[in-house]
């Protein structure tokens, strides 16, 4: 009955519920400790007396919470970002080899030497039942560090999801650019051979092809490295490298498929879009064989993430251990500080404060530091993950956003509740101490 009700709730409601449950122990302790008692002035007195120590404690809590929160946010951002980048890539067919390498090449545009699939293989795939389109790829050129990728209009339209500004290339020397390429419609780009980075810009200059692409269209941001790419007709890239252009003499000026198998120079990867989603599995089975392999980038990614999951767990464990160590250190520190305050506490008892009042004073002192540290840590962790995500996004062109999620809130809440429970200890110790011992100074 109850489990049914729980699982019928929306995800956010469940997460909010978990958060509330994690916070509950802390809140209950606060209520139990403070109801009918107003230790504010004494708590402030403790906070002021050992201000530098208090700042150090708060800083430690902040750092340890920030570390945990940042790791969780960053890891999720990476996972989601890399998955989103692969979203538009349904099925990839390549020559047998490493799926990871193939995926890095085709989806993330990492330069790799890949064996090629030939014209007959391409034709077989392109004509297979259930294939909407099969796009060849051609790499090798770049413009100011932006890869020039030869492919077909069908795949670019699919990648754009119908939101392209301008129009698709219609001639050999036209290009469509990704959202992050600093070229506007109408601009021209002269491609150089290879991936020229700044260091060999000079050399790259001597390596220019005798051609300029005119930009006719711009893609919307996809959050993938394709946003940095200049997309041109695959035929042009082949021709520039002295290869057949995929078409026979009669159709020499054609752009896009079908390609003539005898004039097909080969492709490192074929991006396949099935007509229906369910057909993807049949196609994968069909093309997983001796002379080629077919895979879903999403599946490869989740396998990688599964591997990374072990690392993640180890990291979570380390974070947890570091948080526990920090908590223990702080607890020991609080006990010491409480002892420094012992004379004042004994005076309170002599003046008629109940033992429980000492518990309330010390607990609320500790709770102030811990809560402040946790809140700051949450902010710092999320902030650090956001900064790191920007850097990673700039480096990889994979859009990584470390937006705050429930897991971080859960971690922070669990840490806070647990530490608020532990914070009872110094209070209990002070409460049980006979006041006379400390009154005689």
């Amino acid at each position: 009955m109850l489990p049914d009700l729980w699982s019928s709730l929306p995800n956010d409601a469940q997460d909010a519920g978990v958060l509330a449950m994690l916070l509950l122990p802390g809140v209950l302790i606060a209520v139990w400790n403070l109801h009918g008692i107003a230790p504010g002035a004494l708590t402030r007195s403790m906070l002021r007396r050992y201000l530098p120590v208090n700042l150090v404690f708060t800083g430690l809590v902040t750092l340890s919470v920030a570390l945990g929160v940042g790791l969780i946010a960053q890891e999720r951002g990476l996972r989601q970002g890399s998955a989103r980048a692969a979203d538009r890539f349904d099925l990839i067919v390549t020559a047998p080899g490493s799926e990871v390498t193939a995926m890095l090449t085709a989806v993330y545009l990492q330069p790799n030497d890949m064996p090629l699939l030939g014209g007959a293989q391409y034709a077989e795939i392109a004509q297979a039942e259930g294939v909407d389109f099969a796009a060849p790829l051609a790499f090798g050129d770049s413009w100011q560090g932006h890869p020039v990728v030869g492919t077909t209009a069908e795949f670019i339209t699919h990648l754009a999801g119908g939101n392209m500004t301008g129009r698709m290339f219609a001639a050999h020397e036209e290009a469509v650019v990704g959202a992050l390429v600093p070229l506007g419609i109408g601009d021209a780009a002269v491609p150089g051979h290879g991936m020229a980075d700044l260091a060999d810009a000079e050399e790259a200059a001597h390596n220019h092809h005798d051609l300029r692409y005119r930009v006719t269209g711009k893609l919307p941001a996809t959050g993938s490295p394709w946003d940095r790419a200049i997309l041109v007709p695959v035929e042009t890239v082949w021709e520039l490298h002295g290869l057949a252009n995929g078409h026979t003499a009669e159709t020499a000026q054609q752009i896009g498929g079908p390609f003539a198998p005898e004039a097909f120079p080969g492709t490192p990867a074929i991006l396949v879009k099935p007509e229906q989603l369910f057909q993807a599995y049949a196609l994968r089975t069909q093309f997983s064989r001796g002379d080629m392999m077919a895979f879903f980038p999403g599946a490869v990614l989740s396998r990688l993430h599964g591997l990374a999951g072990d690392v993640r767990q180890a990291m979570s464990l380390l974070t947890l251990v570091s948080q526990i160590l920090v908590a223990v250190a702080i607890l020991a520190g609080l006990i010491l500080i409480t002892r420094l305050f012992a004379r004042n506490l004994a005076v309170l008892r002599a003046l008629g404060a109940a033992p429980r009042f000492l518990l309330a004073v010390i607990w609320s002192y500790a709770a102030t530091l811990l809560t402040l540290g946790t809140v700051l840590g949450l902010g710092l962790g999320i902030g650090a993950a956001a900064v790191l995500s920007r850097i990673l996004t700039a480096r990889t062109s994979i859009h990584i956003s470390a937006a705050p999620g429930w897991a971080e809130l859960h971690l922070a809440a669990a840490f806070l509740s647990l530490s608020l429970i532990c914070a009872l200890l110094p209070g209990l110790l002070a409460m049980l101490r006979p006041p006379l011992t400390d009154l005689r100074g």
Binding site: A38, G352, L439
Partner: protein
């Protein structure tokens, strides 16, 4: 104010080592009277004050304040009894350094039940004023002179509206002038509120101005005078 008479019966206090610290067969102090406790160092004067405030439990015998037998109270009820009936002043003041004079004087507000808090604040303001201190001043307690600090401590004790004021060598840290002023203040407060004032003191000037004297030696009364 319902002033409390004191009655000690066969009180002994024995240290954990087995050494006897206090042995008072029989002693009574009528409500509203003042008493000086005298005796050489180590005689048990402070120990007696702790017994009177309930900070130290007796080994045998009983301590009655009015109808209340301290031995029957739990720690929590003993605390409440001290809060309502017993004000205390210590030799070295024991104020909260970070707090202002008024915050110190009204510190009992922090642990008193809600309904008593306003009254504590009112009495703290009134006591500070009548002791010549400005309740509005916000500077920390550490910035006051010794004599002023002891007067803040007196205001703190009076703010609780006690029936009994216990003071352990209240003038010992003060110079002659401050000591005399404090003695005047204590006696005036006792007069005004009708409380019993019990002072441990080495100061003959203070002792002679109190109603009675109890002289301790080796934990036992030597003899008592009525002034």
């Amino acid at each position: 104010m319902a002033a409390l008479p004191l009655a000690l019966r066969n009180v002994t206090v024995t240290a954990a080592s087995g050494r006897g610290l206090l042995n008072i067969p029989d002693y009574t102090l009528p409500a509203g009277q003042s008493l000086a406790i005298l005796g050489p160092s180590g005689a048990g004067k402070s120990t007696l004050l702790h017994v009177l405030s309930g900070l130290r439990r007796v080994s045998t015998g009983s301590v009655h304040w009015g109808a209340t037998d301290l031995a029957t109270l739990t720690e929590t009820r003993l605390s409440a009894f001290r809060r309502r009936h017993i004000g205390q002043i210590f030799q070295d003041f024991l104020l909260f350094d970070e707090m202002s004079a008024l915050e110190n004087a009204a510190v009992a507000r922090q642990f008193a039940p809600g309904p008593e808090r306003a009254e504590i604040l009112r009495r703290a303001v009134q006591s500070l004023t009548s002791l010549g201190l400005d309740p509005q001043e916000t500077r920390r307690a550490t910035t006051y002179s010794g004599g002023e600090r002891q007067r803040i401590a007196v205001a703190r004790a009076l703010a609780q509206g006690p029936d009994v004021l216990l003071a352990d060598e209240p003038t010992a840290s003060l110079d002659r002038t401050s000591a005399e002023r404090l003695t005047d203040d204590l006696l005036a407060a006792a007069q005004r509120t009708g409380l019993s004032l019990i002072c441990v003191t080495h100061d003959p000037a203070l002792a002679t101005r109190l109603d009675r004297t109890l002289r301790l030696a080796h934990g036992a009364p030597e003899m008592s005078h009525a002034a």
